[in-house]
Amino acid sequence: MPESILNGLFFYVLAVVILGGAIMTITRRNAVHSAIWLVVTLMGVAGLYLHLNAEFLAAVQILVYIGGIMVLFLFVIMLVNLDEAAKQRQFNRQWSLALICTLVVLVEFGFFLMRGAGSFAFAEPGQGALKPNTELMAVALFQDYLLPFEIASLLLLVAILGAVLMAKKEI
């Protein structure tokens, strides 16, 4: 019994962290502050993975998203002078229209959530079946879905090359 309470507690705390972080991310004027809040959000997501016993996924989430992508984000933010951005108006004149759209989407969301409440049970932490988490992941990636995996990585490689080509002034 206490364990399920603990589980619930974890989930809700993390949910608050994620959502709060997300809201802060989009409302900060300072790009670095936004990035920091995004890190908080991503940390929360990693916490959720951990909570579901998906340790590998949690570690990779932190390593790739925070250690890699966010660091590069910050790098770029630091390089580009964004002081100007902070001074500019954050909301443009279409905010009323945007608000209506958002409300419509919100209502839709609420509707679907109400209707399908039953299917939104907590995902059960994969116990025995997923035990050697990392190995299963490896088997899935490198045996069952090898071809899609390789295609995806090739795609990324092409994207990298393209980016380098575009960034370099002369070759």
């Binding site: 670095v32 502050h33 340790e55 570690a59 932190i62 390593l63 250690g67 790098f75 050697p132 988490n133």
Partner: protein, 388 residues
Amino acid sequence: MPFSFPPSIEPFVLPALYIVILVAVFPLIAGYIVLLERKVMADIQVRLGPMRVGPHGLLQPIADAVKLLIKEDIIPAKADRMVFWLAPVISVVTALVALSLVPFSKYFFVADTNVGLLFLLSITSVGILGIILGGWSSNSHYPLLGALRSTAQLVSYEVALGFALIGGLMVAGTLSMQQMVHAQLEQQMWFIFYQPVAFVIYFIAALAETNRTPFDMPEAESEIVAGYHTEYSGFRFALYFLAEYANMVVVSSIAVTLFLGGWLRPFPNVRLLDFLNYAPILAMFVLAFFVFLGASRERRPIDKMGLAGLGAVCALIGLLFLVPAVLDWVQGLFWFVLKVFLVLYTFIWIRFTVPRYRYDQLMRIGWRWLIPLAMANVIVTAIVMILF
């Protein structure tokens, strides 16, 4: 045990205790690593090093800590105060969290997950944020340059470091830190002998990761003053300092765990060398002997008494180790700490022997040499493992 915890909490009790121990004791240990560094440095540079506070400067770390704590806390006028405050905290928290995954001995570890090493790497990669943000929030040129250098350096050397570790991991066949040690016990060989290239690459990359000479560009004081922590003072500076030494301990611990047999004693399978099990006792008594010898040479009575007290404590601990249960518990820890200190000593030794690379040279070494070499090592290892 006469009492027991409720089963739902029971698995958390020991880790929680260890966490408290680590967080409480580690700053002290870091302080003494600094003292060790200063003493080794002094020895290399034909001088004595700290000698004033306590006998042979043994209380210097405490004096330093007090000094740092009571120093004025200066925040630059145009700094981003929130980020300025946050950055050292990120650094030190990630460094201490990383410590929780280190298997100090068979019994003494906070957590052992099946993605232990990966998790360690991911946590240390978050630590970079502390450096970037610290450099950025100071709103000053030198810290910004330092932060840029750090980031570029850490990001590039993490790749080489990761690939070097993969070589070791392929032999170990696990990501769990404890399992790595057990794997070395089963295969009756430290993995450094299977993976010497990986170890060397890892060691070089680790030097770069922890900003040690010859890769200490981010804080190269002769070039960019103090790099990303130029504007930090007092306690915040101390936090960065602590994080740096914690990171050193973490990277040495990974080296020890994956390549140097972790908490195993040398030749754990050789019956003939079983007497090595008693090495901790011997070490404590030898230490006590030397401390007493030092005490007899001391002139000031207070130093004499201090050293004598220290010797007595060492001897007492040695006596305590005579209890088999204690000895069993301490064994692994003893060997682990010994190995980690050897690695740290090598770090220090290198620091005071060689000059510093230039930034572009550092990048060239990382990308042109270490990463291809580490990749080749992985491929060769894979081929060899499939063939045999």
